[in-house]
């Protein structure tokens, strides 16, 4: 078992190394970092300009061969030093920019995921306990509609309805507001991420619950006089959660992508806007840092999901 987890960890690290090397290489070979820093001066050959170029190369570590630069960048990266921005004279350092932006994206993600789970579990329980009755059929149709809603479209429509037309939720995210008002400001963006996710969870959990409810031990419990309600909550829910957990883990990756886009709709200065700005300015260190953080988070979530899986299901552990 220990060996398995070591293997998983090794694979994850290998993957991150591969991704970072590819990204780093592609960005440096396909783009021209020097040009992004200096502009037209980079192509000039006058003596003064050559001096400026040499100085910039030294400052931004561009004078080493590519593999050396990669190793330097990677070893700095793991210590939390993400390098200097190419644009805006390198201020603030990339790690400060990330420190400022990441918590907002993270908050949005956590809010969305919490909402989705809190909606999906009762919804699935209701649908499964009334399987094939009107409630269930309506909820299946609703779930189907929600799954088809694109995050972008939902975000725009929610913004139109609840922030502009009926000013129930605030329109503007203000980073300097106190914590709880920022939570309130993030409600709409979180809902636009949460609804489609909740629908996906609901469909899966409902199916698994119905399957579990057909097991013999449920019948035993019922015949011993356990109430329907207790059977549902105490006997059926937990064994039905396995694929639910998996899908929550996987969806987190998708939500992460979705949050970058929803941030754009609601003008939240998170990682989404950071990467858009960085791409426009071809600011490679920033793009690279965000890509690496998101990928690392994604890989970690996958491992954590497997870990939780083996914790709640003894069968997985012994295999």
């Amino acid at each position: 078992m220990k060996q398995y987890w070591l293997q998983r960890l090794g694979a994850a690290i290998g993957l991150l190394l591969a991704v970072s090397a590819l990204t780093f290489g592609a960005m440096n070979l396909l783009g021209d970092p020097l040009f992004n820093i200096l502009g037209p001066t980079a192509a000039s050959t006058t003596p003064e300009d050559l001096e400026i170029i040499a100085a910039a190369e030294a400052e931004y570590n561009l004078d080493d061969p590519l593999p050396v630069r990669y190793v330097k960048w990677a070893s700095a990266f793991v210590t939390g030093d993400f390098g200097v921005q190419f644009s805006s004279d390198g201020q603030p350092p990339v790690s400060d920019l990330i420190k400022e932006r990441l918590p907002r994206t993270l908050m949005l993600l956590i809010m969305a995921q919490t909402m989705a789970i809190m909606v999906a579990v009762p919804w699935a329980l209701l649908a499964a306990s009334k399987a094939d009755k009107a409630v269930d059929k309506i909820s299946t149709i609703t779930a189907f509609l929600f799954i088809a809603v694109p995050n972008v479209g939902l975000a725009v429509i929610l913004k139109y309805l609840f922030a502009l037309k009926f000013s129930i939720f605030p329109l503007i995210y203000n980073a300097s507001d106190p914590f709880w008002s920022r939570v309130w400001q993030m409600m709409l963006p979180a809902i636009s991420l949460a609804l489609p996710a909740a629908a996906i969870y609901q469909r899966l959990l409902r199916t698994d619950l119905i399957t579990t409810l057909q097991e013999d031990y449920i019948l035993t419990a019922r015949s011993k006089g356990v109430s329907k309600r207790n059977v549902l909550f105490k006997h059926a829910l937990r064994p039905s959660l396995f694929s639910f957990i998996t899908i929550v883990g996987i969806t987190t990756g998708a939500l992460l992508g979705g949050s970058l886009i929803v941030e754009q709709v609601f003008i939240i200065p998170g990682l989404g806007s950071a990467i858009v700005e960085a791409i426009l300015r071809e600011d490679f260190p920033v793009v690279l840092a965000i890509v690496m953080i998101v990928t690392a988070a994604f890989v970690m979530i996958n491992i954590i999901v497997d870990l939780i899986y083996s914790l709640i299901d003894p069968r997985v552990r012994t295999e």
């Binding site: 299946t140 972008v152 725009v156 429509i157 913004k159 998708a254 886009i261 989404g272 990467i275």
Partner: protein
């Protein structure tokens, strides 16, 4: 043990199959249902409008139809059924021409996924061993990337042409389709008719093409319809990050034109009408895919 991640593709597919199996119980419906045909008609209209946009009586998507004495945008009217945007460009025409790009992206993406994912999945599922190890590893690598990040990465580095965007989204569909193809192939390889073909002396190539492919294609094509919806939505997402196809309108770009707070409040039709078109298209793709899957499923269980 890699059950947790390995089973995803299967779980997702199996989930809705079980739903159907439970919902329909003993009385297996063999029809595709009226909803399926409505979905198909909608898709037909959208695809027709997109494919033949230059020859249909649409307005010029890039022309500015300024009306004298009035500042654009103009709300929906007889002349402009979907209204116009801030530059007085006809939104109906932009939606139709945008559909050309968005649907091409979806089609190319899923064709790539079907071809490469299907090929890799079937080979992995049929031969197992090293084929399986190599292809499954490739699938894992592809799935380890948050898909949008991969898309951002490629589109930010290369020119943002229709080809780049389509290929990028195509790469993203390979692993999910491949997983399903692999799982389905494995389940069919054990079946009697494959054994029968083998006993009759059929070679691997023949077994794969004549016996396995027809069975694997059905779940794959159901997934393809879903995948196409995902790719079309992904294009819209990329547009919001400024990374969609540079030239001409796309659905994402048309929506983006009207998504700013002020525009959305004053001229909601600019963003909302294309969103509705996008939503109905994705819904129709999902619904058709789901119906096809359960239709062929029913036949399977009835045997």
């Amino acid at each position: 043990m890699s059950a947790a991640t390995d089973d995803i593709a299967e779980t997702r597919g199996a989930a809705s199959e079980t739903v159907k199996a439970n919902a329909e119980g003993a009385a297996v419906k063999r029809t595709l249902g009226i909803g399926f045909w409505i979905a198909l008609i909608w898709l037909g209209i959208v695809f027709f409008a997109a494919a033949f946009a230059p020859w249909l009586p649409f307005k010029d998507p890039d022309a500015n139809y300024i009306q004298r004495g009035e500042r654009p945008p103009y709300p929906p009217s007889m002349a402009h059924p979907f209204g116009t945007d801030q530059d007085a460009r006809d939104i109906l025409a932009r939606t139709a021409f945008g559909g050309r790009v968005s649907l091409t992206v979806g089609l190319v993406a899923i064709a790539m996924g079907m071809f490469f994912g299907g090929l890799m999945g079937i080979l992995a599922g049929y031969f197992r061993g090293w084929w399986d190890r190599i292809f499954s590893f490739i699938f894992i690598i592809l799935l380890s990337f948050p898909s949008l990040v991969l898309a951002i990465l490629i589109t930010s580095l290369l020119e943002r042409s229709l080809r780049t965007i389509s290929l990028t989204l195509g790469i993203l569909t390979i692993a999910p389709v491949g997983r399903v193809a692999r799982a389905t192939t494995i389940s069919f390889t054990e079946r009697e008719f494959v054994l029968a073909a083998r006993t009759l002396g059929a070679k691997n190539g023949r077994i794969i093409i004549r016996e396995l492919l027809p069975n694997v294609v059905i779940p794959m094509s159901a997934l393809a319809l879903l995948g196409m919806g995902v790719a079309v939505v992904a294009e819209a997402g990329l547009a919001f990050l400024g990374l969609s196809v540079e030239k001409g309108p796309t659905w994402g770009k048309v929506i983006l034109t009207g998504a700013g707070s002020r525009d959305l409040q004053k001229y909601p039709w600019i963003a909302i009408i294309p969103i509705v078109v996008l939503f109905f298209t994705v819904l129709a793709l999902n619904f058709a895919g789901d119906r096809i899957r359960s239709y062929f499923d029913a036949k399977e269980t009835a045997l």
